[in-house]
C-alpha cells in the first residue's frame, strides 16, 4: 500500500480530540497502513473469536435457564422436586459454574484474543491452537456440568467441577495461554498498551489461582477449616485477578477507542495496575469473619480490601477523565454505553466489597443473600456488561456486517441494566433484612428465612428481565453470525435518527 518507506503508525503523533483538521498527506497514508493492518488482523481472528463467542452465548442461555430454576426453587421448593438432578443442591452449583467457566471465561477469552491480536499488531498465528482450546474448554464445561447434575460435585464453591472435567479444562487453558504468550512474544511496536498488561496478567494469574487451589484442595488437601480459607481465597481471586483483569483491560481499550482520545494518564494506569496486582491477591478471607481462623488472617484480607480503594479510585478517575466531555456519546454508541456502565459497576462493586468486608458489617451479612448480591455485581454488572460492550464492537468487524436492529440493542441494554440493578438491590436489601432477623434471638431460623421471601420473589422477577436480555442478544448475535446483519457504512447507533449530529465523533 505505501509506496517507499512504510510509516510506522506508532510514531505518528496523536491527533488532538477536538481538532478536526489534520495534515492531509501523512494522515492519509498512515490511515491506509493502519486500515490494511487491522483488516488483516480482524480477518485472522475471525474464526477463533466467533467460536469462543458463540460457545459462550450458548452457555449463557443454559446458565440463565439454570439460574431461573435456582431462583424459583427458593420460593417454590416443590418445583420439579422429583428429579434428583434438578434439586437445588445441584442446579445452583451447575448455574454458577456454567456462568463462571462457560459464559464469562469463554466470552472473556474471546475478547482477549481479539484485543491481543489488535494490540500486538500481528495477525493471529496458530488459530488451530485456539480452536482446539475452545473445543476442549467446551468439553470441560460440559463434562463438569454433567458431573454436577449427576451428583459428582466436589462441594467447594465455584470449584464443583469433578476432577475429570478439571483436567480437560486445564488442557484447554494451556492451549489458550500458550497461544497468548506466542502472540505477545511476536508482537510488533515498541510499547505495550495498558490493556495488554491486564490481559497478560489475567492469563498468568488464572493458572496460579486455579492451580494452587486445585493442589491444595484435591491433590494434597489441606486439613479442616483451612479448606474453606482456600476456597474463599480462590473465589475472590478468580473474580479479581481473572475476570477483573480482563474486564478492566477491555474497558481500557474500548473507552478511548470509541471516543478516539488517549487514555487520560499513563501514570494513573500504572499505579492502578500494580496496586491492583498487589492488593487483590490478599483478599478473600474477609468472607470468614467470626470463623475459626486466626484473627490476623481475616484482618489482613479486610485491610487489603480497604487498600484496594487505591486501584479503584485510580482506575475510576482515569476512565472518568478520559470520558470527560464525551459523555454525550453514551446516547449513541452501544459499546460505550455497556462499557461505561460496567466501569461504574466496577467502582460500586469494589466499594460495596469494602463495606461488606468490615467486621462489624460482615458479622451481619456474610451468611446472607448480600454476598450473592456482591458476586452478581462483580460478575454481571461489571464484567458481563463490559464483555457485552466489547462484543458489540468486535462482532461487526469479524462478520463484516452491522448490528441489525438498534431497538434490540437498546432493549438488551435496558433489560440487562434494570435486571441486574433490581437483582443487586433485592439481594442486598434482602440480605440485610435476613441478617438482622438472624441476629434477633426472639426469631426462629425459619422465621428469619421467611422474612426474605418477598426479596427472593423480586430477584426472580429481575431474573426474567435478564433472561429477556440474553434471549434478545443471542438472537441478534445469531443474525450476525449467519450474515444477516446490515451492510452499511455507519455503525448501528442506539438513536439512529440523530446520527448526523455525531458523525464526526464516532
Amino acid at each position: 500500500m505505501t509506496p517507499q518507506s512504510p510509516i510506522n503508525p506508532a510514531e505518528v503523533p496523536l491527533k488532538a480530540p477536538s481538532s478536526g483538521v489534520q495534515t492531509p498527506d501523512s494522515e492519509v497514508t498512515t490511515h491506509d497502513v493502519e486500515q490494511v493492518e487491522r483488516a488483516l488482523i480482524d480477518a485472522s481472528t475471525r474464526l477463533p473469536v466467533l467460536f469462543f463467542y458463540a460457545s459462550a452465548i450458548v452457555w449463557l442461555l443454559l446458565g440463565t435457564l439454570l439460574a431461573g430454576f435456582t431462583s424459583w426453587k427458593l420460593h417454590a421448593p416443590d418445583l420439579l422436586a422429583n428429579y434428583s438432578w434438578l434439586t437445588w443442591g445441584r442446579i445452583r452449583p451447575a448455574h454458577m459454574n456454567v456462568m463462571v467457566y462457560g459464559w464469562a471465561s469463554m466470552a472473556g477469552i474471546g475478547t482477549a484474543i481479539w484485543l491481543m491480536a489488535r494490540l500486538c499488531r500481528v495477525t493471529l498465528r496458530h488459530p488451530l491452537l485456539l480452536i482446539a482450546g475452545g473445543v476442549f474448554w467446551n468439553l470441560g464445561v460440559l463434562l463438569g456440568v454433567g458431573g454436577i447434575l449427576v451428583g459428582d460435585s466436589t462441594g467447594y464453591e465455584w470449584l464443583e467441577f469433578p476432577p475429570y472435567a478439571t483436567v480437560v479444562l486445564f488442557v484447554a487453558y494451556s492451549l489458550v495461554v500458550s497461544w497468548a504468550m506466542l502472540m505477545f512474544r511476536f508482537r510488533r511496536g515498541d510499547n505495550t498498551y495498558i490493556t495488554q498488561w491486564y490481559l497478560l496478567g489475567a492469563f498468568l494469574w488464572f493458572p496460579w489461582v486455579y492451580g494452587a487451589t486445585q493442589i491444595m484442595l484435591f491433590v494434597v488437601p489441606v486439613q479442616g477449616v483451612m479448606q474453606s480459607a482456600v476456597t474463599w481465597w480462590f473465589a475472590n481471586n478468580l473474580l479479581f485477578l481473572w475476570f477483573g483483569a480482563i474486564g478492566l483491560g477491555t474497558a481500557y481499550y474500548m473507552i478511548p477507542k470509541v471516543i478516539g482520545r488517549p487514555v487520560y494518564s499513563y501514570h494513573l494506569a500504572a499505579i492502578g495496575f500494580w496496586t491492583y496486582a498487589l492488593f487483590a491477591s490478599w483478599t478473600g478471607m474477609q468472607r470468614l469473619v467470626d470463623g475459626p481462623f486466626p484473627a490476623w488472617m481475616v484482618t489482613a484480607s479486610i485491610a487489603a480490601t480497604i487498600l484496594s480503594i487505591i486501584p479503584v479510585a485510580t482506575v475510576g478517575l482515569n476512565h472518568h477523565m478520559t470520558m470527560r466531555g464525551y459523555f454525550g456519546l453514551l446516547r449513541y454508541s452501544p459499546t460505550l454505553r455497556f462499557t461505561v456502565f460496567g466501569s461504574f459497576a466496577y467502582t460500586a462493586f469494589s466499594l460495596l466489597g469494602v463495606f461488606l468486608s468490615l467486621r462489624s458489617i460482615a458479622g451481619y451479612v456474610h451468611f446472607t443473600e448480600a454476598s450473592i448480591a456482591y458476586s452478581h455485581l462483580g460478575l454481571y454488572a461489571f464484567f458481563t456488561m463490559i464483555i457485552f460492550g466489547s462484543m458489540y464492537y468486535i462482532v461487526p468487524r469479524l462478520v463484516g456486517r452491522e448490528w441489525r436492529y438498534a431497538a434490540l440493542i437498546k432493549l438488551h441494554f435496558w433489560s440487562s441494566a434494570y435486571g441486574v440493578g433490581l437483582m443487586v438491590a433485592m439481594l442486598f436489601i434482602g440480605g440485610i433484612a435476613q441478617g438482622s432477623s438472624m441476629h434477633d434471638p426472639s426469631l426462629s431460623f425459619s422465621e428469619a428465612t421467611d422474612s426474605i421471601l418477598p426479596y427472593l420473589r423480586g430477584r426472580s422477577v429481575s431474573g426474567m428481565l435478564l433472561t429477556i436480555a440474553h434471549l434478545i442478544f443471542a438472537f441478534h448475535f445469531g443474525l450476525m453470525l449467519f450474515g444477516l446483519g446490515r451492510t452499511a457504512s455507519m455503525p448501528t447507533f442506539l438513536n439512529p435518527q440523530e446520527e448526523e449530529a455525531v458523525k464526526e465523533h464516532i
Binding site: M1, A39, P262, V263, P294, T299, A300, M321
Partner: protein
Amino acid sequence: MNERASGGHVRQGMDYGEDADVHEVHSAIQREKREPRAGMEPLSIWLIVVYGLAIFFGGAYLGRFSGNFSGDSLDPALIPHVKTQGPNGPGGAQTQELSQADRGKKIFSANCAVCHQPNGLGAAGQGYPPLAGSEYVNGGTRRLGMIVLKGLQGPLTVKGQSFGAAVMQPWDKTLSDAKISDVLTYIRQEWGNKGGPVAAAQIAGLRKELASHPDSFVEADLKAVPEDAELPGGEPAGAKPADAKNPAPAPPK
C-alpha cells in the same frame, strides 16, 4: 507483517462474505479511530490524599483487629486480655475469665505434662518424679519456686523413692512470673495436693534473688532450705521474709 508485499492478501482478508462491495464491508475499519494510547497527565493531589487515607485506615484496621498476629488468637480484640492477667491477690484467683488454677492447668499441659504426666504421677521409669503427693510440691513455696525457676539436676528422693539423673530445665527464660505462679498454684491444688496458691509477685521476688544463680540446683541445695520455707509476700503463713534470705543456697559449685 509487510504491508507492501501483502497487497494481494489484503483483498483476500477483506473478502469476508458474498458481498462484493469492498467499501461497505470495510466501513467499520475505515471509520475506526486509532488504536488507543495513554496520555501523560500527572497524578492529582487529591488522589494522593485518597491513597493516604486508604493506607491509614487499612493500617489502623490491621493494627486494631489483628489479635496480636498470634496464630491461636481467633478473637480480633484479644489485646486487652494480656493486661488483665496482672498480679492478683493470692486468694482472688477468680477473675471474670479463668481462675488461676485453670490458667495454670493450660500452662501445665503445654510445658510440664510431657514429663510429669497429665495425672501428675511422673514417670518413674524415665526418672521423672511425681508431683501428686510430693513433699516438695505440698511443702513451702520457696523450694518449689527454686526448682521451677532454675531447674534441677538429679538424683532426687521423692516420697521415699529415689529418682535418677534426669534433668529438669530452668524455666525462668521461658515462663513469666504470672505463668509460673499460675502453674504452681495449679499443681499445689491438683491430685489431692494441699498447698496454698502462689502469687506472681512472690515469683518475681525469687527471680530477682536468683538472677545471678547458675542453672540447675541439686538435691543438696534444696535440703539446705527448710521444707516449709515460704516465699515472701505470699500467704499469711509465709515465713519470716528477712530470714528467708539466709538459707538461700550457696552456689553449689
